[in-house]
């Protein structure tokens, strides 16, 4: 049976891919995010982050308490581009 264990559901990243990235030298959540995109989808890492942190800790022997969190930039939830582009108050109404 094919082992298709999904870690990041938003970006369809498997456990195997995460392990490979760590084996190749990735040590932080941000590095794995940049390599694999996990944490960049609609849930912004809320689902996969604890699993990836656990995997890094297990494979590298780091204490989970010392693993840095990824940077959380606004927006923390998906926003439609149209909403952002519309911005604030149009000048004629302001």
């Amino acid at each position: 049976m094919e082992d298709k264990t999904i870690i990041c559901r938003c970006e369809d990243v498997t456990l195997e891919e995460i392990r490979k990235a760590i084996a190749e030298g990735a040590r932080t959540l941000d590095e794995i995010k940049r390599l694999k995109r996990c944490g960049m989808g609609p849930c912004q890492g809320r689902t996969c982050r604890p699993l990836i942190a656990g995997e890094i800790a297990r494979m590298t022997g780091q204490n989970p308490a010392e693993l840095a969190l990824p940077t959380f930039r606004p927006p923390v939830v998906p926003l439609k581009l149209g909403t952002l582009a519309r911005g604030g108050v149009p000048d004629e109404q302001a």
Partner: protein, 363 residues
Amino acid sequence: MRQEISFVEIAVIGGGPAGLCAALEAANAGARVTLLDRQDRLGGQLIKQTHRFFGSQSHRASERGINIAAELTGQVMSHPHIEALTGATVFGFYEDGVLGVEREGKIFFIKPARVIVATGAAEKTLAFPNNDLPGIYGAGAVQTLVNVYGVLPGKRVLMVGAGNIGVIVTYQLLQAGMEVAAIVEAAPKIGAYWVHAAKVRRAGVPIYTSHTIGRACGTRQVEGAVIWQIDEQGQPVPGTEKDLVVDTICLSVGLSPLVELLAQAGCRLVYVPQLGGHVPLRDASLQTTVPGVYVAGDAAGVEEASAAMMEGALAGLHAAYSLGYNQTGYEARRAELQQQLDSLRSGPVGEKIRSGLSRAMIG
């Protein structure tokens, strides 16, 4: 185009038990409060909690979460000092203390003098083969489906996790007419209150401790699950595999605090497994390391709704006090709330929370 920023006294982010109580406490002290919740309905997770709460009367014991939500929401909506905005998502906490909010496809910005972050927690999940098959849910999602929308996720379920949420949701699924094949719990002991666990055992549901899900089976949807016993290192014990025929797998494996906005605000976070993950450092008034930014409820550490309500009230009380409100009544009310919160966390049940808090408390 120009961006308008409105100034408010106290913004409360999140309208669950912590946020509702924070808003009410601050408003009752005289402050003006803007309460923002991304859902269309206030109450947070309370709106799907159909079971009765535990604890003493002051902790709303024997009340059902859904009724507490209705009562608090009613008070909030009719309070002249509270502006409650539903469907309003705070998407950013900027360095100058400005909050970005999206509502009905428009964005606006507010700059509160005080912010109470009561954003709650997100469900954790597990890594196992085929964990993306349709039919696999978080326990919170199942509770929403069943108790809010009246929809059953399937016919026969495996519950993963025997903490309070897992066991309570199991019982609610039985009541709603689903079969429950089993509950598996990775720990050697059941985490839920005994009275809940006893109820599902009497109903004939086996609870396997030191067991976990090995994999889900199925091609287009869940058709079964394999469970097995695990040793102290979490490794499967050979020869203990059991095949279960189920069409639903429900994961109740804990929650992690939603701290993104607190991180953006610059609050110092610390990793405390007993509280669910990274949580902000805070003092007894729930103020974080960023002056004027408070935290309450599951965002401060995963705990029960009754504790979230007390924390919310403490944060709301202090936020209002720090703005000059209720200078005479503050100390008596603070002591009362703190005493209630302490009694809730007393005894062996509160042991884990107390040890976690000892690492998150400052000052």
